[in-house]
């Protein structure tokens, strides 16, 4: 008996294009992009800065309406916000007027979970992300890494089936970042969710993912390469970077990515000098 279904996708984008209308004519950020994430799969999308990675993620979240193509969540066409997904933002997303605990339990409150139960579950999640004792602090009293942990707990407490992560750790220093990456992997391995992880950092992408998708430079971004990462799990993101297989994969992907990065860089430069 083979119960494995290769067609079971939690999230699939099919020929998606996004065109922003503007005063100087339309700007097509994403063009004809197809991307599927299997259940429990960790997929990273890498690409040069400003290539429309976040646009793609916002489409998957339902925060942004795509111009053409289709977005399906567990086989159902996406209408409105993606209720199956949790979203972790690149920028600060905690409500500054709420304490850490109140921030973590916000989603439960929105869903009408009784305050006592929410409180208890909030405490549990704070413990899981290592923030016990900080429940009464306000976001500005936490360090950048702690704020990210709180945001992680805030998202995971709702037990979403899909995690959408938009360069969540890019603002952190390298040590904190690797700590957070390891913690993310542990949480993910405990309860395999489907992850769409956006980053511009190729090493981060390889060390975390099952699959890495490379996007072209914008505008009209589309995938130009896809790589399966066959590194063994569980992984330690700091150690895995030293292994020969990692370096091999890195070289392969970088070979594809390099040209696009240079293209993206040239475009930014031209824009500045124009």
């Amino acid at each position: 008996m083979n119960t494995f279904q290769p067609t079971a996708h939690s999230l699939s984008l099919d020929q998606v294009s996004v065109t922003f209308s503007g005063a100087t004519g339309g700007y097509t950020a994403v063009k004809n992009t197809s991307l599927s994430i299997g259940e429990g799969e960790f997929v990273s999308v890498v690409g040069p800065t400003g290539c429309g990675k976040s646009t793609l993620l916002n489409v998957a979240a339902g925060l942004l309406q795509h111009s053409s193509g289709s977005v399906k969540v567990f086989g159902e066409p996406l209408r409105g916000l993606n209720r199956q997904a949790g979203y972790m933002f690149q920028a600060e997303s905690l409500m500054p007027w709420r304490s850490t605990l109140a921030n973590v339990t916000a989603g439960l409150q929105f869903r009408g979970v009784p305050a006592e139960e929410a409180h208890e579950r909030g405490q549990q999640w704070l413990a899981r992300v290592g923030l016990s004792g900080f429940e009464d602090r306000y976001p500005h009293q936490l360090s950048g890494g702690m704020r990210k942990r709180a945001a992680l707990a805030q998202m995971l407490i709702l037990d979403p089936k899909i995690l959408l992560m938009d360069e969540p750790f890019s603002a952190l220093d390298i040590q904190t970042r690797q700590l957070m990456e390891n913690e993310l992997l542990q949480l993910w391995e405990a309860d395999k969710k489907s992850v769409l992880f956006i980053t511009h950092d190729l090493e981060e992408a390889i060390s975390l993912s099952d699959r890495v998708v490379v996007l072209s430079a914008g505008p009209e971004t589309h995938p130009i390469g896809e790589f399966t990462i066959d590194l063994p799990r569980p992984r330690d993101v700091a150690e895995i970077r030293m292994t020969p297989r990692f370096l091999e994969l890195h070289e392969q992907i970088w070979h594809v990515m390099k040209e696009e990065v240079l293209k993206g860089y040239a475009q930014t430069r031209n824009k500045l000098s124009a």
């Binding site: 920028a91 997303s93 709702l158």
Partner: protein
Amino acid sequence: MKKIPIWLWQVTLLVMIFVVWHLLTAPDLIPPIWFDNENRAAFFFGEPLKIFSTIWVWFSGGEIYEHLWITLVETILAFAIGTILGLVVGLWLGLSNTASVLLDPYVKAANAMPRVILAPIFMVWFGLGIWSKVALGVTLVFFIVFFNVYQGVKEVSPVVLNNARMLGASATQLLRYVYLPSATSWVFSSLHTSVGMAFVGAVVGEYLGSAKGVGYLIHQAEGTFDINSVFAGILVLTVFALLLDYLVTLAENRLLKWRPQQSKTETT
């Protein structure tokens, strides 16, 4: 050597001001510098000692409390009503693009108009009691709160907003848990100005026509050229305003404790 604390300097300065004031105004003390009559200076500028004795009489006789109370009530009512109106209208215009585009010139016009001019109209509408003063204070407070709330709504971080939406907040929940706290933080940051404005509304209203209140006391004294009582009234109002401001600071510290403070370092 220990440093002399700043408040000591401040008190010394205050005492010096009163001493100089006393020297320049008391008849027979030093020959008149500007005026050709010994009593002129006292007539125009009052005499600190008499001012203090007036204040003493007011407080020991209990006469002042009723007036202070009326002014306080007017201030609080003007502040409360103005704040609620400003909050509601600010949220409404901040969230509804159509309404804000439509009403924009009217808001600007109403804000540009010198609103003290409305005082006589309010007196016709609401009589000489406290409500005409409250109405004047409300027109002053409203715009401060309104503009702050409007700004607050417009400047809610889109990331925080989207995050709340992804966490499942409905439209009403967004209003209640994101827009409102964000807007109230702006209201609190303008608390000093709006309480001050409520106070100005109350006193100016009393001054223009009333039967009670500290503004009324000053107006009465002015009518009889009792300059000492005028200054006494001004001093009482000033101290009163300082007290209000202090209370606002206390409230602010409690309500805005989630706000980042500039960190202080200790020096030894």
